[in-house]
Structure formats: C-alpha cells, structure tokens
C-alpha cells in the first residue's frame, strides 16, 4: 500500500494525543467568503499527523465540519450531494436508526444540538489547563479577526488526574482507552487484539481504508467517498456524541445488584463491561483483576472468545464483547473487520470518588468521538445492531447494559457456570445509565482539502 503522508492528515485522526485537557469549540459560519478566509487563517494552526519525535507540543488544534458547515463554506452542489446520505442528513435525522429514542431523542438534547446551527468543530487539546486556555484565546482571536464565524458554545473535557498523572478512567470507575484498532501504515507497532484476526490466530492491522478515505478498505475496494478525490483523500468522518452519565443511578444499581450477586459488586461491574475496573479483561482473568495484564499493551487486548461460547467468563452481552466480537461470530472474525471504529473521547464533569454523594443531575459524562471511513457501515451499524439490539449475538432485543436506552425495562444476563462463585445471574428493569445530550456527524478533511476549501478550489468532476 502507499505510504501515508502524515503531514497531510490531521493529527487527531492518526493518534490519541494523550493531552489531558480539551476544549471543543462549536462554530456557526458567517458569510461564505469570510468563513473561507477563517479556514485559510486556521490552516497554519492545524496539528498534522507528523510524529512528535522531538517532544509533545503544548497544545493541538483540529477542525471538522458538519454538512451544513460545508454548505455554508460554498462547496459546489454536486460535491455536496456526493457525500454519503447519512452525513448529509446529520445525526439528529438518524435518531430512529440509531435508537436515539425516549430520553435520548433529540427533543431532550442540549440547545446547542437541538437547533441546526453547528457548522464546525474545533478540537483544542492542551498539556495543561494554562496551555489550553492560551491556545483557545489565540484561536478565538483569529476567529474574531476574520469575522468568519460565531462561537456558539464550548465543551470542556479532561482526563481524570490521580496523583498528578492523567488516567483513562471514566465516571463509572472503569478504565477506558482500550480497543482502538491498528491500521496498516498508521501505527508503528501492532498490539495483539487490536487489528483483525487471521486464520492462524495472529492479529494483523486493519486496512487503512477503514479509517481514512482514499485507501483500500477491508472489502478490497475504496470506501464510498465524496468527489473530487482530492477533497476526500486522507479525510475521515467523525461522530460526536455528548453522553451524560447518571452516576448516582449507576452506583445505586451496582450496589443493589452487587449485593444480590454471589460474585460481588466488583465482579458484577466487570461482567457489565467485560473488563475489571482496572482494565483487566475478564475473558483472560475471570476471577480477579490483574494489574500485570492490565498495564501490559501486549496482553491487555490479546484475547478471543472462542473458548467461552457460553459466556461464563465474559457475558455474551458485555459491552466490549458487543462492540468488538472478535471471533465470537465464527468465520475467523471476518464478519467484524468492517465494523470497527477509532475512539478519541474524554470525560467531562467533576469526578467524585466512590462513597461521596453525587446526583444524576450534575453535568458529567463522556464526550464520545468516533472516527471511521463510513458512518453507516461502521458506527451506525455497531450502534444499531450491536448496542441497541442483540440478534447477532443471539440475544434477541436485549441491549447493551451500560449504554442501551432501557427506559426501566429490559434485562442483562450474566451467564455463569456450575462453580459457586460464578452463577448465572439476571439484572432486570434496567435504568438509563447513559443519556445522549446531543451531537452530530462531522467531516475531518485532510490539510490539502482544507486548503482547497479555503481557496474555493473544490471542483466536482
């Protein structure tokens, strides 16, 4: 395959920055000409995928556009109509397909997302809060100067810092940050369990085209992309979802159910996700967390479900098993290679240790951002078929226990075995632990594409 030109791809696509402080600015464009001049000015600020071999920058900046945003930038009609239908519609219109109903339906979203005003997302990350603030001021100054857009709102997000070091913990207490796929040409090294499963049991990187437009994907073709090629290549699509977490409800539920479950609260929590709270996969360590495994990249994603068809170690409906089934559907895992996504999110809101009072109303949750070459085939499919539904795992209409929109109904089955510490167990009347508060679909162009947009040089064929 062709070598990737890392200076042409936005850094946000190729790497998780591990810069613990983030602010996401949402812009609404002014007249097209001024908006384009803003893009031209911002070009020099955008962080590319060039490696930080000489040390981390203090802050990074990346940019993405909704379909509305591209319309407002004056892209030609033929180009606009060539974008995939789901991107043209935007995430709000896809609510029924995604199962964003009930408490997750758009009428309950934050004002920012309920109205169709977001044109661009500016993702700014900083190594410290000060670095973040400084960069934001600089960017806002540019926006002000060009008069190219109005800043509608901003969303802060930050990794939880424990003992001065950023962690990958989220509010429910789970360690996140596993499971991003390896792609050909993108990653320097391959982590076992992160790519696709080969017939001989080893793991290989996924085709580049599962992440980036313009490259061959796992189906042996170029993914559907807008025209012209130059606009699409080295770009990708991003899903942004603000997921509010009902921490009080979750803790109460886990306490109650954990007291009824013979294996105890921590084991039950591990059964929900498929990893102990420290990240140890329960598939390979079913009885207790194991920091040696959890902290070792060559072990903490290296497992398959072939030896656990009954779900006695990792429940069939556990979160990680749902969203990354590995070999669970047979066929050497081939059915899932085109259903992978790269996640880049961060938590938002105040962290509260276990035992201290907390309410559901407080603003906290995770900013979920997923990158994929094809929204409907990748993110939407996983959300519709594997999260809000369960037929592929033979679970009928059962939903993901943590992320599903249960509305007080539904169940989660913890499969077990005959051993006394691992009985079968069912949690019923599931509350909504997570609520969608808004979001949209964005197009993350390459640096070349940004330049073309800025200079109004986009020509459909």
């Amino acid at each position: 395959m062709s070598k990737l030109n890392e200076t042409d791809i936005q850094g946000f696509v190729l790497r998780g920055y591990n810069l613990p402080f983030a602010r996401y600015l949402f812009l609404q464009f002014e007249a097209a000409k001024r908006a384009r001049s803003l893009i031209a000015r911002l070009l020099g600020e955008i962080t590319t995928g060039q490696r930080w071999d000489k040390g981390k920058p203090q802050s990074t900046v990346n940019i993405a556009f909704t379909f509305r945003g591209l319309e407002h930038l004056g892209l030609p009609d033929a180009t606009l109509r060539s974008f995939p239908v789901e991107f043209q519609q935007g995430m709000k219109q896809r609510a029924e397909i995604l199962g964003d109903t009930g408490v997750n339906s758009p009428e309950h979203w934050d004002d920012l997302w309920r109205e169709d005003r977001v044109h661009a997302w500016l993702g700014i990350n900083g190594v410290t809060m000060e670095a973040l603030d400084a960069r934001c001021l600089a960017i806002l100054a540019i926006i002000e100067e060009t008069g190219g857009a109005g800043a509608l709102a901003s969303q802060d997000a930050a990794a939880q810092v424990v003992d001065g070091k950023p962690t990958t913990k989220e509010h429910f207490g789970f360690t996140d940050g596993f499971g991003n796929p390896d792609y050909l040409g993108v990653d320097r090294s391959s982590q076992p369990g992160q790519g696709k499963l080969m017939p001989d049991g080893t793991w290989a990187p996924l085709a580049t085209g599962e992440l980036l437009l313009g490259y061959a994907d796992e189906a042996g073709e170029l993914p559907a992309a807008p025209i012209p090629h130059l606009l699409a290549s080295n770009g990708t699509f991003m899903v942004y979802r603000k997921l509010h977490q009902n921490l009080a409800t979750f803790r109460a539920f886990l306490d109650k159910q954990g007291s009824l479950y013979v294996g105890g609260k921590e084991k039950l929590a591990a059964k929900f996700i498929g990893r102990w709270r420290d990240g140890t996969p329960i598939e390979i360590s079913p009885d207790n967390p194991n920091p040696a495994i959890a902290k070792d990249p060559s072990r903490n994603t290296d497992f398959t479900y072939g030896g656990d068809a009954e779900g006695a170690r990792c429940p069939i409906g556990a979160h990680v098993r749902r969203v990354h089934p590995r070999d669970a559907f047979g066929f050497s895992g081939q059915l899932i290679n085109r259903r992978r996504i790269t996640r880049r999110g961060l938590p938002y809101g105040r962290f509260v240790p276990e035992g201290e009072p907390v309410t559901d109303k407080e603003e906290r949750g995770v900013i979920f951002m997923a990158l994929n070459a094809n929204l409907s085939r990748q993110f939407e499919f996983v959300q519709q078929q594997w999260v809000q539904y369960g037929n592929d795992s033979h679970l009928g209409n059962d939903k993901d226990v943590l992320v599903g929109n249960h509305g007080g109904h539904g169940k989660f089955v913890v499969q077990g075995d005959a051993s006394p510490g691992n009985p079968p167990f069912i949690c019923s009347n599931l509350p909504d632990f997570v609520e969608l508060r808004g979001g949209d679909y964005f197009f993350l162009p390459s640096i070349t594409a940004l330049g073309m947009i800025a200079m109004s040089l986009v020509d459909p064929r």
């Binding site: 199962g99 339906s105 939903k399 109904h409 069912i426 019923s428």
Partner: protein, 210 residues
C-alpha cells in the same frame, strides 16, 4: 425431493396473469391494489389458514435486462408469484387454504389465467400444481418444527426468562413449588396468534419517536 427440507415444504407457484387490454385497471394492478390493503399480521389470510411459516406474493412484471452484451427479451405475460414455506404436505396445505380463506384466494387469483375458483377443492389444487415450479434448492434454518410449535416455543422463551429473573436466590422448596405452578400456567395459556408481534414487552428498538 428438493421441494422438501425436513418437515417444511417450499412451495413456488407462478400463475400467469390475465392480459386484457380492456381491463381498467389491468389485472396485475388489481392484484397489487388488493394486496396493498391486505393485513400482514394476525388477520392475514395466511394467519387464518393453517401451516404457513412465511409466505409472499409478488407480481413479477418482466424478466430483467442486465445490459449489453446480454440480449434484451421480455415476458409475454406477467406472473403472480406465490412463495410459501409451509408445514407438512402440499395437498393438505392447499386444501386448508381453499377451506379457510376461499374469498381471499378468489379475489387474488381470479385475475390469473385458468383459475377455477376455490369452491371446487380438487380443481383448485390441480390448478395450483399446474402452476407450480420445482424448487431446485431449498434452505431452512429450522426444518423440523411446525408453526404452532414455534409460536409456543417463543411464548415459553419469554416466560422462562421472566421466571428465572424473578426467582434468583429463591429457596429450593419455594422454587420447586413456583416452578410447578409456572409450568401449569404456561400450558394453559392460549397459543399466540400467528402473524402477531407477540405480547407487548416495553422494549423499544428503533421505531418512530412519539
């Protein structure tokens, strides 16, 4: 016999539709209009007549021209396709249709060439068999359970999940007592209606926002 797979039968019938330039609307459109208004749920004719797992009716207008260098050709008649996946043997199935839903059969097939009506059972069966095509290869995920057995099993599955969930940690004596009662109650429940979506379960999967 390729029409059979276990206890399931794959019936494929192509009935030529009457071609009459004077009919307004044309016969194929009349079939389409009738089918468009026909219920596909519990009051479907195929729910009322016994033995149908899955069935479809399709008005086939023409063959498909796949493009040059293939030759373009056209059918001289349109055909009504009836594809059914049914329990047991063909004669009893067709008799069942004629006995239970003759009005629907007549309303649909009266637009087809040579249709004798459902009143004369044998003539109806002979007509359907005259229009039958042999299924060359028939695949069935489950090929050994009848419609009733399937509906009962689905009812059982939901009830069992509820029972297990509500009896966690129950002491053995109570568990046994409740279980015996549960089985008796389940046996007494009426068979769920074919074609229905099952009992309301408060699970919302996609669907319109209210």
């Amino acid at each position: 016999m390729p029409n059979n797979n276990g206890s399931v039968y794959g019936l494929t019938i192509l009935s030529p539709i009457i071609d009459d330039a004077k009919a307004t609307p044309s016969h194929d459109l009349q079939i389409r209009n009738y089918l468009a208004k026909l219920s596909t749920r519990e009051d479907s004719p195929f729910a009322l007549a016994p033995g149908t797992h899955l069935a479809r009716l399709v008005v086939m207008d023409d063959v498909v021209f796949v493009g040059a260098p293939s030759c373009e050709e056209h059918l001289k008649s349109k055909y009504l396709i009836f594809e059914s996946n049914l329990d047991g043997d063909l004669d009893s199935y067709l008799s069942g249709l004629a006995a239970t839903i003759p009005d629907h059969l007549n309303a649909i097939w009266k637009h087809c060439v040579g249709y004798p009506g459902a009143a004369n059972r044998q003539a109806f069966i002979d007509y359907m068999k005259a229009c039958q095509l042999e299924t060359t290869f028939f695949f069935a995920a489950v090929n050994n359970k009848s419609v009733s057995e399937t509906l009962r099993a689905l009812q059982t599955q939901t009830a069992v999940a509820d029972f297990i969930a509500s009896h966690q940690g129950a002491n053995p004596a109570k568990l046994q007592r409740d279980f015996i009662q549960f089985v008796a109650k389940l046996k007494s429940l009426p068979l769920p209606k074919p074609g229905s979506m099952g009992p309301h379960r408060e699970i919302k999967t996609g669907g319109r926002n209210e």
